[in-house]
Symmetry: none
Subunit: 242 residues, 2 copies
DNA sequence: GCAGTTCATATAGCGTTGCTATAGGTGCTA
DNA sequence: TAGCACCTATAGCAACGCTATATGAACTGC
């Protein structure tokens, strides 16, 4: 199962490490696995990459190029905030598509040691926020906005990765994304008081009622009634959120 | 350097693990270190805790108690959203005070394996959001709000931990916190005379929901369902919930 | 008081990990 | 051909998580 062919050992090591990482399923990947799959022996790895972390950094660098490509490849829409929204989604998508690589990049956290890649990602996002700031759409400095959004973006992505696939709910991402972007922006489209105010008041009321019922051990309703009742409330409160 | 004294080996192991973890400075802690410092041998560890992760889980459980104590120990201000704000700050403070322990609790992420502790923390926060929902201060379901806020809270805390101490800027936390809380809240609750919040809100919410349902041609429910539903709402809203 | 049982700890060692001291091969320039 | 970098392999070290096995201690039933 080794990677034969004409590639030089260094490239074979990179490729083997990336493949094993992608298929590891969360368990650790050993240097012996990597060198065996690459068809080389241990000293070759350490000659080219110094140590295991060096190899992983190199893999991450390649992964980051892919990440950056995803972050840049859409045409600027002229609306920086819309671009940032897409940046967020690209970030989450990248994390869910390659969770192991993402975890090496963003999940390998140790106190007071900030991976260079985080700074790079932050710079990428700050660059985008600068455009928003130029057009007066920001109410906080771009740097702060980028740091804040990236932190939330990483937090959401990590939480989604930790969840089992069938339970992953991208609403979490969309909601957090919009909340954060709105918070740093100057747009005031919050309360239009227009048509959907009726709808949203249903939602608010249903949510409040639902919570109140769960809080008080309501003996107004039998348990089976209550169950159905709550199910309806849930249907209402989740169906009409737009 | 071993922990002598009268404590049973199990407690000594827990204590040694917690101490070593707190002083590890980010590097890994081995079972040999732990057993040596505890003054026992390896099989004792595995007899009591199964494996290394079991021991760490036990340490985390103790750490979580401390975390929960921090999250609960302030008196409810009567303003749930204000309490949530303090919850957020407690979370960050806990993470910065004991980064290694925090990383074991919230930073040990693997795909599709969600640590039980995350679910616990989420439940704790959801509980608080339920109170906010009761007083009609939420515009999203409490569960979604809790997940979203917790994700952002963890993301911010991890990012702060990764930064070198002198560069840590708590503005990042405050800003993200307020952004998230604002986003899930119904900002209208500001000028409420807070009198009619609480238990009677069941009635208020039920009435509001009732009116809203009748106003909109709700096609979420069938007509017979709606009839029964409204009957229940009537029962609830005309009786006093304890 | 004594055998039987269970719990708790120790001795010794297995297999794997990341990594390296040393040496040998390969291809280039002179 | 000689010399010199560069690259790779053999073999093995120390540390890791973990365990098969055995021994001691404490309690139970008769």
């Amino acid at each position: 199962m080794s990677i034969d062919g004409q590639l030089p050992p260094k490239a074979r090591l990179l490729r083997a490490a990336a493949e094993l990482l992608a298929n590891s399923g969360g368990s650790a990947v050993s240097t012996r696995q990597i060198t065996q799959q690459a068809g080389v022996t241990a000293p070759t790895l350490y000659h080219h990459f110094g140590d295991k972390e060096g190899l992983f950094d190199a893999v991450v660098a390649a992964g980051f190029d892919e990440y950056v490509a995803g972050e840049r490849d859409f045409a600027p829409s002229g609306q920086p905030l819309e671009d940032i929204r897409r940046m967020w989604d690209n970030h989450v998508e990248f994390g869910l598509k390659q969770p192991e690589l993402y975890l090496v990049m963003f999940g390998n956290i140790r106190p007071e040691s900030r991976p260079a890649i985080v700074a790079d990602a932050e710079a990428l996002m700050e660059e985008m926020f600068n455009k928003a700031a130029v057009s007066g759409q920001l109410n906080v400095p771009p740097k702060e906005a980028a740091r804040s959004i990236l932190a939330a973006n990483v937090g959401v992505t990590l939480m989604l990765i930790a969840e089992k696939v069938p339970e992953r709910n991208l609403e979490l991402s969309a909601m957090t994304r919009d909340a954060m972007i709105f918070a740093v922006s100057t747009e005031q489209a919050r309360d239009n008081g227009s048509d959907d105010s009726g709808k949203s008041s249903v939602v608010v009321a249903a949510i409040a009622l639902n919570a109140a019922l769960q809080a008080s051990h309501s003996d107004q309703l039998s348990s089976s009634e209550l169950k159905l009742f709550l199910e309806w409330l849930h249907r209402i409160s989740t169906s009409s959120t737009s």
